[in-house]
């Protein structure tokens, strides 16, 4: 049987959450919903750091590499000297690479966030359930 506790006050909610964890309910079965991020929950229910950071790093590196590869490729494929500068002008290309690092890093972090937090959640969008101003603890039923 799944259980559901709803609180208005943060302190009572945290107390109950501690009690549930102490009583030996496996953390996997507990879902906590809160109207704003509550840092104490991270202490009570410790979890691995967010994987978004991997996406951010991959995106930034991909952007940096793309920026250099793309600019260098285009001047090599049609070698046209402009402004009397060397074909491969690293300082100039660094700016493109820098902007792309930020662009790809941000976009990939965003995609990572959507992936990890299972958004957009179509079932939730069409359901009548609301994002309440309440603290809620849900305990899923044990698998039999």
């Amino acid at each position: 049987m799944s259980e559901r506790f709803v609180f208005e006050r943060k302190e009572e909610f945290l107390e109950k959450l501690r009690e549930i964890v102490r009583s030996g309910v496996p953390e996997k079965r507990i879902t906590v919903l809160s109207p704003y991020p509550v840092h104490e929950v991270d202490e009570i229910l410790p979890s691995a750091p967010s994987g978004v950071r991997v996406f951010a790093l991959l995106g930034a590196v991909a952007g940096l590499v793309t920026g250099f590869v793309f600019t260098i490729y285009t001047v090599k494929v049609w070698p046209l000297i402009s402004g009397g500068k060397p074909l491969v002008s690293i300082p100039a290309f660094l700016i493109i690479a820098f902007e792309l690092a930020i662009l790809f890093g941000s976009l990939l972090s965003f995609i990572g966030f959507l992936h990890f937090s299972r958004l957009p959640d179509v079932n939730r969008i069409v359901s009548s359930e609301e994002f309440e101003n309440m603290f809620e603890i849900r305990i899923e039923a044990e698998e039999r």
């Binding site: 799944s2 259980e3 559901r4 506790f5 709803v6 609180f7 208005e8 109950k16 879902t31 906590v32 919903l33 809160s34 109207p35 704003y36 991020p37 509550v38 929950v41 991270d42 979890s47 750091p49 967010s50 994987g51 978004v52 950071r53 951010a56 793309f70 285009t74 001047v75 046209l80 402009s82 402004g83 500068k85 100039a92 700016i95 493109i96 820098f98 902007e99 930020i102 662009l103 941000s106 976009l107 972090s109 965003f110 990572g112 966030f113 959507l114 990890f116 937090s117 958004l119 957009p120 959640d121 939730r124 969008i125 009548s128 359930e129 609301e130 994002f131 309440e132 101003n133 309440m134």
Partner: protein, 447 residues
């Protein structure tokens, strides 16, 4: 509800109350989204009409050719480029308030961040129009982007104008994502308060946010990363804009101080615009409880600080010209001070360097009507600054036979006013369609 605060347990029915039930913050902030009054419609009509006039003039310019604009030899960059720099600058303080102050954990950002982020997105959109308007044959704008063509010819990545394409489009994308992601939990709250088609609209926009501990964990991480990406970005974007000028050899433009000078100026003008927008918004939407005088004082200090940096840059510019030993460089600064555009130059000094000094007085920092008027003066001053830098440097370059002056035509003035119309129309729509304060962050702070 039982006295111990537990509303329901062992139940599976959704624990939602009556529609519209919510905490005080939610009610207060979302009240701003109610049906607008006559004043709102009037403002929207004025701004919308201005925008339409601007669009019509742009169409006129496209059919008649660039001759209807005053830009010609030797001043090839006039108010269109001034507008571009001005609007990109306005955008900057939005990112400063939402990203940089977030990383510094400055509490007062909460009162301004949503409007500042909205302002950023709309200002970059406005700015982005001007290179297209300036092109003349605007329908060839895609030539700016690197795409494979039959001729195998690529864009010139050594050109600062190409850097600008990348910087501004990255800036627009990242600030739009930042604006949106900061709003997702609030949109889920708006969903709870709305009904009918609006409910569907906000439900879809909120992506089905439910606020589980997993979602909050990734959300906080994403927010931190976006803030960290946006902070160097904001510095780079206006540096790149300044390099559009500084990379050339035009006297008056070719200085190394341009990048920090432009970045400080951008934050200065953007902060002024935030004050211009938020003072009336706070009053009309009755948000006095959430945006306090203390918050305005903090933002006035940013205004004062950036004003001092800008003043310093004005002085250094003269020093650089004086020590350059170049007659052209010295000549252009003499021309700036005593030439055709001297009154614009004096105006810029007065509004950007002298008048903001009054903010050293505490009672003036806390005086909202004063701040509002000052912020408008600063905006005028910053517009003049860009105009003076761009136009006065081009008007008297090297050969006296190629000198000339520039005056904007009615078409240029009209399109400029149209851009203000567009910006304010977008902001007015924002105040009624989206939550103007970050409800979630205010709740988090008050607990």
């Amino acid at each position: 509800m039982s006295p111990d605060g537990i509303r329901s347990s062992h139940s599976s029915t959704p624990g939602s109350g009556a529609p519209g039930s919510g905490s005080q913050v939610e009610v207060d902030v979302l009240a701003a989204m109610r049906k607008p009054g006559a004043l709102y419609w009037f403002l929207l009509l004025v701004c919308g009409s201005l925008f339409m006039v601007g669009m019509a003039l742009w169409a006129y310019q496209m059919t008649r050719g660039m001759g209807v604009a005053g830009i010609t030899h030797p001043v090839g960059w006039g108010v269109y480029i001034t507008n571009f720099v001005f609007w990109v600058g306005i955008a900057h303080s939005g990112t400063l308030i939402s990203a940089v102050l977030f990383l510094f954990r400055a509490g007062f950002r909460r009162s301004f961040n949503r409007s500042a982020e909205a302002m950023t997105v709309f200002a970059v959109m406005t700015a982005g129009l001007f290179p297209l308007i300036h092109l003349g044959r605007s329908w060839y704008f895609f030539w700016l982007f690197p795409y494979p063509t039959q001729r195998l010819l690529w864009t010139n990545f050594k050109s600062p104008l190409m850097w600008d394409v990348f910087a501004v489009s990255t800036y627009f994308t990242v600030s739009a994502v930042f604006f949106f992601i900061g709003m997702v939990p609030d949109l889920a709250i708006v969903k709870r308060f709305s009904s009918g088609v609006r409910k569907w609209f906000y439900s879809a926009l909120s992506l089905g946010w439910k606020g589980s501990q997993v979602q909050w964990k990734h959300y906080n991480q994403l927010y931190m990363f976006l803030a960290s990406f946006a902070t160097p970005l904001v510095v780079s974007v206006h540096s790149v804009v300044s390099w559009d000028f500084a990379m050339s050899i035009v006297p008056g433009w070719h200085t190394t101080i341009f990048a920090p000078y432009f970045v400080a100026g951008a934050i200065f003008s953007g902060t002024a615009m935030v004050i211009t927008l938020v003072v009336p918004m706070r009053r009309i939407l009755k948000l006095e409880r959430y945006i306090t005088i203390d918050h305005f004082e903090s933002i006035a200090k940013i205004l004062l600080f950036t004003s001092l940096i800008v003043t310093y840059a004005y002085i250094v510019e003269y020093g650089l010209a004086f020590y350059s030993g170049s007659v052209y460089e010295i000549g252009i600064f003499k021309y700036r001070t005593f030439g055709h555009y001297r009154f614009y130059y004096y105006g810029m000094l007065l509004f950007n360097a002298l008048v903001p000094m009054t903010l050293f007085v505490r009672s003036l920092r806390r005086n909202l009507p004063y701040l509002f008027i000052l912020s408008i003066l600063v905006n005028i001053g910053m517009y003049l600054e860009r105009f003076v830098i761009i136009v006065s440097s081009l008007a008297k370059e090297y050969s006296p036979y190629a000198w000339g002056t520039y005056k904007p035509t009615m078409v240029e003035v009209g399109i400029t006013l149209g851009s203000f119309g567009f910006f304010f129309t977008m902001f007015l729509l924002f105040t009624k369609l989206l939550p103007v304060l970050s409800v979630t962050e205010i709740k988090e702070e008050s607990h």
